[in-house]
């Protein structure tokens, strides 16, 4: 009747021991954290005596997983950025325009002359002088289309070409826009990650959210503005042919050109061709350095195809100026002195050393394909986080003692069993959190405190049931057995329903709320486990040893 197989007993104690062992590092948080960092440094940067010593602070045979502390506890910055996916359409059209021009040129006899008309940025609008040749023009431009490379867009082409009277309109197809949006966001995500890694902070969270958003959380950073400075600039480097230079921001640029300001000289504007000769995408390296006058500068090197294009262009245009453009501002516009074949060059400007270093980092990490708009910014100071941790510790301890005392008073020895289970329960929650690399947030602490209160529920259900069975005149062994089996369906139903809400919270929530859902959900699992297996095992072991004739619950 009151029997549990030996293997089950061993298994139950093993699970508890594993939970305690996994939770152990959290008791020595700072020490383990330092040891882990040192161990990581040894792998990344090699051994030094100090690193070895710090790594030795925590024995390597013990588990070293820690519960991650959320931003609200550790302090740091949180950003939610929206990728401006539409930016890319414009760049695509600007890149397509020379191709369209070159394809139509041999067809002048049927199409006549053609001019690009001003229009929305994500379209090319061409007016052709012989409307009769429109069908031929459509055919030629359609010949430039490529199949869309995505699963859903199979069979579609990347551009849509249509005619509106004597105007030929080229734009990206819907399938291509979808594919392009996805690519843009994925690229942005990768680049944001690389930029943050270059700065080297601990455990940043960089996730895609929804179709076009990126969530960035960096613990330990001073403020959201600092974080924005690292990732916010697009660092889009291009080399464009210069058409003219002036002081009028509103000068008519002519179709296919654009007017952009100079970075250093206020009031100076350059008119440049919108289609770039080479872009930052072809960069393979960028390093901070100094020019021949000893001023900070950035040297760069192109890959083979970039170097060839750059070489060809410089060879053909000796004597004319070209602009080095960074994020739509002209950094400098030197005149091409000679053919530059090697594919390397130098960007000079009025940089400070810090600026040149930053620019090199940004260029190396690659340009963001599109701008970012920040929808949500949160900065939490480390002091506030520490205050919250301290308050949380005190509150949890007091809650714990109060519940332990109350259970002891209400159920005597059985209450003590439940208390041991409760302590194990908290250890198991921390152990599981460490194991899955979960994050503890301030609401998460509230979830643990709530678990402390509610975890006894399953035991209370069982104990009350045992009392009832005893009252009904059953013997101790029978009463315990019946108490457990009859309480089971209520325990399962009650906890499954609560678990459902925890799952929904986890799925729908974000950040701190999700942290709460995790601790709540884990708390439910561990409290059911401890109530059904651990306290039961303790009671049975006690019962086997004592064989009491009567019990009081």
């Amino acid at each position: 009747m009151l029997q549990i197989d030996l293997w089950k007993r061993v298994l139950i104690w093993l699970v508890c021991a594993a939970g305690l062992l996994l939770a152990l590092p959290n008791g020595f948080y700072t020490r383990v954290e330092q040891a882990n960092d040192a161990a990581a440094d040894i792998i990344a940067k090699g051994e030094t005596p100090e690193r070895l010593e710090t790594a030795g602070q925590w024995p390597s045979f013990l588990p070293s997983g820690l519960v991650n502390l959320g931003l609200d506890l550790r302090g740091g910055a949180h950003l939610l950025a929206e990728v401006q996916v539409d930016d890319v359409y414009e760049a695509r059209m600007d890149a397509l325009w020379p191709e369209v021009r070159d394809a139509l040129r041999p067809e002048r006899s049927t199409v006549g002359t053609f001019r690009r008309q001003p229009g929305p940025a994500d379209q090319i609008r061409l007016k052709i002088s012989k409307p009769d040749g429109m069908s031929r023009a459509l055919e030629v431009v359609r010949g430039l289309a490529n199949p869309v490379t995505s699963l859903t867009g199979a069979g579609a082409t990347d551009i849509e070409v249509s005619a509106e009277g004597d105007i030929l309109v080229v734009q990206l197809s819907e399938a291509e826009k979808l594919a392009s949006d996805d690519r843009t966001v994925r690229q942005s995500l990768e680049i944001v990650r690389r930029r943050i890694d270059e700065v080297g902070t601990r455990e940043p969270t960089i996730q895609r959210q929804g179709a076009d958003r990126i969530l960035i959380q960096v613990p330990g950073i001073g403020s959201a503005s600092e974080l924005k400075a690292i990732i916010g600039t697009t660092a889009q480097l291009t080399f464009n042919p210069v058409v003219g230079r002036g002081s009028d921001a509103d000068a008519a640029p002519g179709v296919g050109n654009k007017v952009i300001p100079s970075l250093d000289e206020e009031g100076t504007y350059y008119t440049v061709e919108a289609a770039a000769v080479v872009t930052g995408e072809d960069l393979v390296d960028a390093q901070p350095s100094f020019d021949q006058n000893g001023r900070p500068a950035v040297t760069f090197r192109f890959n083979t195809s970039g170097a060839r294009r750059f070489g060809d262009y410089t060879a053909e245009n000796i004597g004319s100026p070209f602009a080095i453009v960074l994020d739509d501002e002209v950094v400098s516009a030197p005149v091409i002195q000679s053919h530059i074949p090697g594919g390397s060059g130098i960007i000079t400007g009025n940089f400070t050393i810090e600026e040149s270093t930053n620019l090199a980092v940004l260029l190396r990490a690659g340009a963001l394909p599109a701008g970012l708009e920040f929808l949500e910014e949160r900065t939490i100071g480390p002091e506030l986080g520490q205050d919250s941790i301290d308050a949380g510790k005190v509150a949890t301890a007091v809650a714990f003692v109060a519940v332990l005392a109350f259970m002891g008073l209400s159920y005597g020895l059985f209450g003590l069993f439940a208390n041991v289970a409760l302590i194990l329960n908290i250890a198991l929650i921390f152990g599981m959190l460490s194991l899955i690399g979960g994050t503890l947030t301030l609401p998460g602490i509230a979830g643990i405190v709530l678990t402390v209160g509610m975890a006894v529920d399953a035991n209370v259900l069982i104990f009350e049931r045992i009392r009832e069975e005893l009252k009904a005149g059953r013997g101790p062994a029978k009463a315990i057995d019946e108490g457990y089996s009859k309480a089971l369906s209520a325990i399962l139903d009650a906890n499954i329903t609560t678990f459902i809400t925890a799952v929904i919270l986890f799925a729908m929530g974000s950040g701190p709320v999700r942290g709460f859902a995790i601790t709540l959900g884990l708390g439910i699992m561990t409290s059911v486990f401890t109530a059904i297996f651990v306290t039961r095992l303790m009671i049975i072991m006690w019962f086997e040893r004592r064989r009491p004739k009567t019990i009081e619950v």
Binding site: E377, A391, A399, S489, T497, A502, I504
Partner: protein, 322 residues
């Protein structure tokens, strides 16, 4: 010598004044809902966009001076409240500044924060911004939507689960109790104008879970007693079941409240609103599982003919207590 919250044997008649209790509940729900409609919730920035800045200074907070210092920047609606907590040190004076959402879709800029800090530094030297949170209006709209969906989904999921495990009358009774708890909680937040942010949604869902926990335990006993006492009428069985589980209901509520109250007093001001919601929810949830869920079950009536159809509707655990 044992501590007993409830005498060993109770035989309260919980339905003697069923109409009165239902009436009180209905009245409170109407008041809560009306308060929500007319007064509205004091939404935090999560839901209506804007910026909150938590400041810390060594000198005591002069709300008027703060307000004057910020007025020059024309930020629209600015509210400043001083925060008190027993855990603060002597020279730790904390204020929360809330600034309405600015016109453009983006969150407030870093330079603006620096300017504000400089202006405040003039009236409170050495002021620190310990946290700055800014949410653009675009996101806040979506957050409301997600929150509402989450609560509705939770209630629906629970409805389905109880329907599968019990009978539809039980599910309706439980869900009525849940709606009751959620409405009363929202009502109390609107009436007392406590800040309502994302964490409160988490609290709401926890209340849903807790209230349900209580209701399910009572219903489980009802199901068992319905089978055992086939001759007793429903009101009697319900009363018996509530009385039998009363001791457990009180024990669990008290341990949970003990834990929550210690968190309320000692857990710091950042989560006080969140904990308040849960304390309120535990009290209301305990009340509603007895006086709302069971009363509704009584009004709806239950099919008593369990013998002919055993093992229907997925009661895979019910054999245990047969």
């Amino acid at each position: 010598m044992r501590l007993r919250l409830v005498p060993q044997e109770t035989s309260f008649d919980f339905f003697k004044r069923a109409k009165l209790w239902l009436g009180i509940s209905a009245l409170m729900m109407v008041v809560g809902f009306a308060s929500f409609l007319f007064q509205g919730l004091n939404f935090g920035i999560d839901f209506r966009g804007g910026t909150t800045i938590r400041t810390e200074a060594t000198e005591s907070v002069d709300v008027g001076a703060y307000r004057d210092a910020l007025a020059a920047h024309q930020l629209g609606d600015v509210s400043i409240t001083e925060v008190f907590d027993p855990a603060f040190e002597e020279d730790q004076h904390v204020a929360m500044i809330r600034i309405q959402a600015q016109d453009d879709g983006e969150a407030i800029s870093g330079e603006m924060i620096e300017t504000l800090k400089a202006s405040l530094d003039a009236v409170a030297p050495g002021i620190k911004f310990v946290s700055v949170e800014s949410v653009g209006p675009k996101v806040s709209g979506e957050l409301i939507q997600t929150a509402v969906i989450a609560v509705v989904l939770a209630i629906a999921a629970v409805l389905v689960y109880i329907w599968l495990r019990f009978e539809w009358q039980f599910a309706l009774g439980a869900v009525a109790a849940l709606v009751h708890d959620v409405v009363l909680t929202i009502g109390v937040f609107s009436e007392l104008q406590i800040r309502f942010d994302l964490a409160i949604i988490a609290a709401l869902l926890t209340i849903v879970g807790y209230s349900l926990n209580d209701t399910v335990v009572v219903f489980d006993r009802v199901r068992e007693n319905l089978r055992r006492y086939k001759q007793k009428d429903l009101a009697e069985v319900l009363n018996l079941s509530i009385n039998e589980t009363l001791s457990r209901t009180m024990m669990t509520s008290v341990t949970t409240l003990l834990a929550l109250i210690s968190l309320y007093v000692l857990g710091g001001d950042v989560i006080r609103g969140f904990v308040f919601a849960m304390i309120w929810g535990v009290v209301v949830g305990t009340y509603s599982s007895v006086f709302v869920a069971s009363t509704i079950l009584l009004k709806l009536g239950v099919k008593r003919d369990w013998s002919k159809q055993s093992n229907t509707t997925g009661n895979q655990f019910s054999n245990i207590d047969a």
